[in-house]
């Protein structure tokens, strides 16, 4: 049966090759598009996590919804103990609100206290400083602002600004900070309304010695769910909240899921083309052989065996096309992962939405497997029509078919 199917594929080499090529091209194009799509999405999601918010944040229960200085992590040692097995980088921060007064104007800010050294190991916010420098060890009354805020306040690197806040006991705290760096990240949430100051100084200033609002963890995607589950099991009963990046900022993940949904529609269209191509080939080759099938039936070959030959032909075409298409598609993805696709001329020079201007293609395994399986499935479905025709063949009519 395999031999017979194979010989029939080879006999119509041209037609078979066109079909195989169509399957392979469709699949390769699909995999490449997935590669582009996943490349953009994954780098976007990674950037979002790496620039400042991290993959996971741990707070006192309720802090994320209503952040208050006094809702700090009650017992940092408990959290540290829970993180003992966690191998990735962990940052400890303090968060408060402040009013910034420049020469011309004032603006409400989120005040983020970070350990200048440690933060570099956890996020890439230091790399986003485009003018001046990031905070350094030993800094005290220094701060880093986003570009928009700096403009609104009318300050430049080297200028002083006054930050007004409340300490742990609710007393007004005011201090003068030297602006050492300006962040130009292209992200509104960072460029506007954020001031970063040294953690030690902020703790002293706001009477929060040894206290933190958040622990920030970086992890890759594979570990995210597992780590979250384990940390939740341990920390939630103790009154902490463990939030993944998309628990905090769901919009990007929803957007990615939506776009993936569109890609699945596209996958459906490719499948239709694949199925139609294979069906056309197999049906044509079956109709050419009606007479031969009639003779085979006369010889005692049952209908189901004939149907088996037809299915085998479809599957062979589908399988060969799938193997070639997967190889070509993965080849493209690997190639453009290395070289990258430079879209800087197509995009604003400013990064928006955490999108890199150079897209490095990559493909999620579930997208790869779903696409490949779907194409194989389409090949099997494509054989249904020819099979149905074969099962209805009457030997006499088939033999006298011209």
């Amino acid at each position: 049966m395999l031999l017979l199917a194979w010989r029939n594929i080879v006999r119509n080499a041209r037609r078979s090759l066109i079909t195989i090529a169509a399957v392979a091209l469709g699949l390769a194009a699909l995999l490449f598009l997935w590669g582009f799509n996943d490349g953009v999405h994954n780098s976007m999601m990674r950037n979002l996590q790496q620039v400042i918010i991290g993959s996971i944040q741990i707070h006192q229960q309720g802090f994320f919804r209503s952040p208050k200085l006094t809702r700090d992590i009650r017992r940092p040692d408990e959290v540290r103990a829970a993180l003992r097995d966690f191998k990735g980088p962990v940052g400890w921060r303090l968060r408060a609100f402040a009013l910034a007064a420049g020469d011309d104007a004032s603006e409400g800010l989120v005040l983020l206290g970070v350990d200048p050294q440690r933060e570099r190991g956890v996020t890439r916010i230091a790399d986003k400083v485009s003018r001046g420098r990031f905070l350094a060890a030993g800094d005290a009354t220094t701060c880093v602002l986003g570009l928009t805020t700096a403009r609104n306040l009318g300050v430049e690197v080297g200028d002083d600004i006054v930050l007004l806040s409340e300490d742990r006991f609710g007393s007004l705290a005011a201090d003068r900070f030297r602006l050492v760096g300006i962040i130009d990240s292209g992200e509104m949430g960072i460029d506007r309304g954020l001031a970063i100051v040294p953690l030690d100084y902020m703790q002293d200033w706001l009477s929060m010695q040894g206290r933190y609002s958040e622990a920030v963890l970086q992890t890759d995607r594979d570990g995210l769910e597992d780590i979250t589950r384990r940390l939740r099991a341990r920390l939630e009963p103790q009154g902490y909240e463990v939030l993944r990046w998309y628990d905090m900022y769901p919009v990007m993940k929803q957007w990615v899921d939506l776009e993936n949904g569109f890609y699945y529609i596209f996958l459906g269209i490719v499948l239709l083309i694949v199925a139609a191509g294979i069906m056309n080939t197999v049906l044509m080759s079956m109709l050419e052989r009606v007479r031969e099938f009639g003779v085979m039936m006369a010889l005692g070959c049952g209908r189901w065996r004939l149907a088996g030959i037809v299915v085998t032909e479809s599957l062979m075409l589908g399988l060969i096309g799938t193997v070639l298409g997967t190889a070509a598609g993965l080849g493209l993805v690997a190639f453009f992962h290395q070289t990258g696709i430079d879209l800087s001329s197509q995009m604003d020079t400013i990064q928006r939405f955490y999108i890199d201007t150079v897209v490095r293609t990559e493909i999620d395994t579930d997208h790869l497997f779903n696409s490949v399986l779907a194409v194989l499935l389409a090949a099997s479905v494509a054989s249904l029509v020819p099979v149905w025709r074969v099962l209805r063949l009457q030997p006499v009519e088939a033999i006298h078919h011209v």
Binding site: L4, R7, N8, R11, E292, V295, L299, G300, C301, R303
Partner: protein, 231 residues
Amino acid sequence: MNQDHMLICARGLVRRFHSGQEEVAALNGVDLDLPKGAFSVLAGRSGSGKTTLLNILGTLDMPDAGTLSISGRDVLTFSAAERADFRLYRMGFIFQAYNLIRVLSARENVAYVLQLRGVPKAERLRRADAWLAEVGLAGLETRRPDQLSGGQQQRVAVARALASEPDIVLADEPTANLDSHSGESLMHLMRELNGKRGVTFLIASHDPVAMDAARELVMMEDGRIVERIGQ
């Protein structure tokens, strides 16, 4: 004649076809007893019902009325799958042309029926080669049908029909597409196999070459057997 000796025993076979409003009775009450070892040619004008009868005897088609037993089996009660099996083990077929599976070599074509019967590969190839030699095609085993002449293709079909050692070989116009010389030698071959091995043949043909080679002529007219001429 004692019916127990009969390979084929048909009574009152009727087969009607509908084409548009008209009804054509292709078989109009055929009675036929055919003994083992016969070498009979079913002759008659075009449209007399030869092919229709052969199809029914070959369990490829069903009559509208009548009874039919082959090798003592009431084949009309069989399901489609049972008929396929019956053909596989009991019958050989030779058609007018394009008998062979195009993508298989002569040897593979002959071996195919054995493969359907589950004969192991080495054994079926050996038997295929032996049958090809028997029909005079030694040396051409690996040729594809399109590399063989019409006469050679029909010989492969004969080898294939015989390879499964059937009770009967049914042939419909086997010489129609051959020149008279090839036709004669094909008939001669089948007659020889009949004599030597006792294989029963029923051949539908209005080709004089075929009729000349027959041991018996079964004459058909308007869907009936009108005369049997022993030779």
